[in-house]
Point group: C2
Chain length 290, copies 2
């Protein structure tokens, strides 16, 4: 074993989990690292990734960490299980391995990462590019392009691990954001997990009305507002279960805001209604214009 | 004056309000009626509609009801004002005029319509095809195509008015739904006004957090969930002010559903969380697939 590689192009990279995220990352990294190794708990998915040239080789998780860069791209609770497995496997050879996870919540993952022996150099990651569709079949090389890609580096990791993680974000075309795991989880609760909870609750509200004409009448507004409700269940259950505090706080703040609107509508005062809507309208109209 | 025309193709049609809805309707009806007359409170908009060939002629509201079909395409409270004006103008010649409004709420409009003298034959309408953009510049002929188009015929209108309203929906490519004004308003509260209130409250929740990194991290999920918050303010204020009862009821039901999610998350019970999400995921995944 020589000196650990300093650039992704010289690395053997393993991606664990070849769903939408892992599969898209493999496609985005094709030709940008020495070897791309794929791992999936479903042997059929791994085989399909190999046959379609998404990865150069396939292997099993137990054999996958003896490489340069290990990318964990599963639902959060699976990632935590994988990190715990690495931490408890003291007999592994002392090869330097950068571990980057793509989990949707970060505090609990980084907590697990902090138990890794020193040969593992961890960096947390979260590309903000969900789709309602999931799985390898929907993976695309441009999934990360111009999308925010958050990194949450722990205090104890190596400069090399950071450099490789930054390079990864750049190579897949992401917009790098660096913050603490706790800060990530608070913001993700506000801009991702709360909108998901809102979408699920909108669908549940219409279901509770038990009036089939509602679905016939639903159009593009309802479609867009509720798109997140169709997100992958395994992913979302793990997110809500591992980010309880920030999500509950966001829900509580959301209900306060609903109360403001509710009271304005109850008042029947047109100017008060307008006032309750104006700041949100101005802010939202100025977003996503690029 | 001969017998009133039985088909739209023989009608002189006036559209009052040449914004997104009225302008799109004019574009969709081009060549499908005898004459298309445009009215807008902004003379510049009316002039632009004439110059671009969106309408054949322009006139002012006071002169616009002496035609075969009068279409009111303004925010709801303006429509109510226009209907009241027609109702109080007893001196108008007794020409038969079908009046179709495109207002986003129907009960208060139909209440105003019920005061019209018999020469006016009213039908309520609501095409479900909002966009976040508004105004004549964003109007397109295909706005109504394959979108739900609700008609709320009052008990006292003519068969001729109904036939012309049905023909209108068909000619612009809408999917016809017929229901009472009250039923429309309940369903619209659930599938349109509540999602709007949810979107506004999502943006307000992030604004209240006062953390600019939240906006940098917001991606496609937040974009779609909050698209409605950028809707035209005049339109939305009128909707919330004229549909208070159904909107407040929908908000109350929505908060009950948020509570179910909140309690599931608080419990930390992964199976309970999954259960709270499953029905909405299945319902939403099966919608809008065509």
């Amino acid at each position: 074993m020589g000196r650990p590689p300093l650039s992704l192009t010289d690395c053997e990279v393993a991606i664990v989990g070849l769903g939408l995220m892992g599969g898209s990352l493999a496609l985005a990294l094709r030709g940008q690292c020495r070897t791309l190794v794929g791992v999936d708990k479903d042997p059929g998915v791994a085989q399909m990734a190999l046959e379609r040239g998404v990865v150069d080789q396939i292997t099993v998780f137990e054999a996958a960490h003896n490489i340069d860069v290990l990318i964990l791209a599963a639902p959060v609770r699976s990632i935590i299980g994988q990190v715990n497995h690495l931490a408890s496997s003291a007999f592994y050879p002392p090869r330097a391995t950068v571990v980057i996870d793509l989990g949707s919540t970060k505090a609990q993952v980084m907590q697990a990462m902090s138990e890794l022996p020193p040969r593992f150099e961890p960096v947390g990651g979260h590309p903000m590019c969900g789709k309602s569709t999931s799985g390898l079949a929907n993976a695309t090389a441009d999934l990360f392009r111009n999308k925010p890609f958050v990194l949450t580096p722990p205090g104890h990791t190596s400069v090399r691990a950071l450099a490789i993680a930054y390079e990864l974000v750049e190579r897949v075309g992401g917009r790098l954001l660096v913050m603490s795991a706790e800060h990530h989880d608070q913001l993700a609760a506000l801009i991702s997990h709360l909108p998901y909870a809102a979408a699920v609750s909108l669908v549940r509200t219409v279901l509770a009305a038990e009036d089939d004409q509602a679905w016939e009448m639903a159009s593009s507004g309802f479609r867009d507002s509720t798109r997140l409700a169709a997100s992958d269940l395994d992913m979302m259950v793990d997110i809500l279960a591992t980010n309880r505090g920030p999500v509950l706080k966001a829900l509580s703040s959301y209900r306060e805001q609903l109360d403001v609107l509710d009271q304005a509508i109850q008042s029947g005062d047109v100017e008060r209604i307008r006032q309750a809507l104006t700041a949100a309208r101005e802010k939202r109209a100025g977003l996503f214009t690029a």
